[in-house]
């Protein structure tokens, strides 16, 4: 179809784009000057431009030696949705150890490493750049390709509608619901999470989720760990389209290193959300160059997200980040006076609710079950103490932010997101203490059981 460099191709490189997703491993064949061939599976490969591809040079010592002698290699590539197979001859051009292509390949390997804490093993030594000499369809099919076209293709109208809905949100709680519900209803992302950056700027915590049996509100992930942590660390979208294979491969490599004592046995980074995701994508939510959080979408199916989906999520990430920052600053600047409540009413349920709070890290337990920790835990404790000491039920964000027991940092105090996190955790557990929004920058707690508190120092 495409003539270039005097060769006739059965397809152009753009047609092979789905082959680079990693669902069906790419096979690399090389040969020595003496005619001894070698076969290896590629860890990662990327198209560079319309004529070139880049291969990760990571575990390929024999292939590298062969390429030094015979610079032509032969690939077998398979389109995952149709299983059309292509034989691709490539000519080695150069090895690069820096630059955009090297960084892209390095980041893809880092994503694999992040799944099993093998950052020291999955290090890209170099990226080899090849010019595509010839593309040949291995077996011209007598039948039309059966392409189930499972990938989402988020359309502009739906994206515009969701942007509009987000723009009309007046508080953070509402924003989280609108975003996650809208991603499913309008764009077909059935399993999603919004994670926000914590006060340390080194962790993400889950503020909202959609499509899971367990909401996982408050679950935390370190920067660099898992897909969401990788997106946060790089401030760039990260996607894995073949989670099963990547996880299986990484697990096997890790166990090999553990057996020879090169790596200590370690738990895998727990995957948030789906137990066995087929594909995941995470995009950073950035505002004015600062990371506010990450949107994570996943699917039980491999090869589920297209580049257009990543672009759509990136747009939404930017919008959400700006909205979160704007809402935080509005609430921060609100001057509403703190209303004081009348004496508390007698709880309807006479069974006491035990609250145990650990001052060291803010860990808080209700009836011996973990509720929350950190700033949100300290906030809960402060609200409960205020309520018990003075009978207050109504509070403002502004006054609570100034509470020194919360130990909020001067910069990026995250108070609003911690308040929403606490509110959602309490809703999730249907506890006797609940938080209700009563206006911009104002909220009320309701207490349905007598409280018995214990402070552990």
């Amino acid at each position: 179809v495409n003539a270039a460099n005097g060769d006739v191709h059965d397809a152009c490189l753009a047609d092979l784009a789905p082959c680079f997703g990693g669902v069906v491993p790419i096979v690399l064949a090389t040969t020595s000057a003496g005619g001894v061939p070698n076969i290896t599976f590629l860890t990662r490969a990327l198209p560079v431009d319309g004529e070139r591809i880049a291969l990760s040079n990571q575990f390929m010592s024999k292939s590298s030696r062969n390429l030094a002698e015979v610079t032509t290699a032969c690939l077998l590539m398979v389109r995952p949705h149709t299983h059309d197979e292509f034989r691709v001859w490539i000519e080695f051009e150069q090895t690069v150890r820096r630059g955009q292509i090297f960084d892209r390949l390095r980041n893809e390997l880092a994503t694999i490493a992040a799944l099993t804490r093998m950052q020291d093993v999955f290090k890209l030594h170099a990226a080899d750049i090849f010019r595509v000499v010839r593309i040949e369809r291995v077996k011209p099919s007598a039948h039309d390709a059966v392409d189930p076209a499972t990938a989402f293709h988020a359309d502009h109208a739906a994206l515009g509608e969701l942007c509009g809905r987000i723009s009309r949100c007046t508080d953070l709680d509402h924003l989280v619901r609108v975003l996650l519900d809208g991603l499913d209803e309008l764009l077909g992302f059935t399993h999603t999470m919004l994670l926000l950056t914590d006060e340390s700027g080194e962790r993400l915590f889950t503020l909202g989720s959609h499509g899971y049996d367990r909401a996982g509100i408050g679950a935390e992930v370190e920067f660099g760990e898992g897909i969401a942590g990788q997106a946060a660390e790089r401030c760039a979208p990260v996607s894995v389209q073949n989670m099963w294979q990547v996880a299986r491969y990484a697990r096997l490599v890790r166990s090999g290193y553990e057996q020879i004592g090169a790596l200590a046995a370690a738990d895998e980074v727990p995957m948030p959300g789906l137990e066995a995701p087929g594909s995941q994508v995470a995009v950073p939510a950035l505002a004015l160059g600062e990371l506010v959080g990450v949107i994570l979408a996943e699917s039980p199916t491999a090869e589920r997200f297209s580049e257009l989906d990543v672009a759509s999520l990136t747009i939404l990430g930017s919008l959400v980040a700006s909205a979160v920052e704007r809402l935080r600053s509005e609430v921060r600047d609100a001057t509403t006076a703190s209303p004081r409540a009348a004496s508390p009413s007698t709880p309807a349920d006479s069974r006491p609710l035990s609250i145990r709070h650990f001052a060291a890290d803010g860990s808080t337990f209700l009836d011996n079950e973990y509720l929350i920790k950190g700033v949100a835990g300290k906030l809960f404790w402060s609200l409960v103490r205020h309520h018990l000491d003075s009978g207050r039920t109504d509070f403002t964000n502004r006054e609570m932010r100034l509470d020194p027991t919360l130990e909020l940092p001067d910069f990026r105090d995250n108070f609003e997101s911690r308040l929403i996190l606490l509110k959602r955790r309490l809703e999730d557990r249907a506890d006797a203490v609940q938080i209700h929004k009563t206006g911009r920058g104002r909220f009320r707690i309701s207490v349905d059981r007598p409280l018995v508190t214990e402070l552990v120092r």
Binding site: V23, V24, V27, L28, A29, T30, T31, G34, G35, V36, P37, N38, I39, T40, F41, F59, S61, K62, V70, T72, A73, C74, L75, L76, V78, P80, T82, H83, D84, E85, R87, W89, V138, K139, S141, H143, V146, W244, Q245, R248, Y249, L252, V253, S255, G256, Y257, I260, A262, G278, T301, A302
Partner: protein, 164 residues
């Protein structure tokens, strides 16, 4: 050679025999590599000689282009779909001939077990896998002269059983 014979152990044979992806590479007449799928293998002659099944169209094309298959090196890889255990066997082709009924049985078993493993592990439907099937097969034999363990991990690519 005796070292290689001892290396074709149960683990290697099991990987070749069941639920694995087979690939082959040879060197074409112009000195460049040529990759193709393998469609089943049988270990014969005291576990030194490997009989592998290749797409007849690929082999005919190589020969038409001037390659002399017999006497040339071939690399043959079997990678378990379930465990990713992977071995590469290399040797010089001694025979290239039409397939027998026994070969067709090997091919059918290979497809059944390979497709079942792929469906089981990667959820790829059989109809898609069948799209890659060859219309005709050729049987190629070679004596295994080199054997490498390519299972992912720190030992990937090392000669298998070299110390024995």
């Amino acid at each position: 050679m005796s070292t290689v014979r001892s290396m074709l152990d149960d683990r290697v044979c099991a990987t070749l025999a069941s639920g694995s992806s087979h690939l082959a590479a040879v060197t074409a007449a112009d000195g460049t590599p040529f990759a193709m799928r393998g469609w089943g293998a049988t270990v014969n002659a005291g576990e030194r000689c490997l009989r592998v099944l290749l797409d007849a169209a690929d082999v005919e094309r190589l020969v038409d282009d001037g390659a002399v298959l017999v006497g040339s090196w071939i690399a043959y890889t079997a990678a378990s779909v379930r465990t990713l255990t992977s071995f590469q066997l290399k040797g010089r082709v001694s025979t290239s001939e039409a397939v027998s009924d026994a070969d067709r049985g090997v091919y059918e078993r290979y497809c059944e077990e390979y497709y079942a493993a792929v469906l089981d592990v990667d959820f790829i439907r059989r109809e898609l896998m069948e799209r890659m099937e060859p219309e005709a097969l050729v049987a190629v034999e070679f004596e295994v002269e080199e054997l490498f363990d390519q299972s992912p991990g720190p030992g990937a690519g090392r000669a298998y059983g070299a110390a024995s």
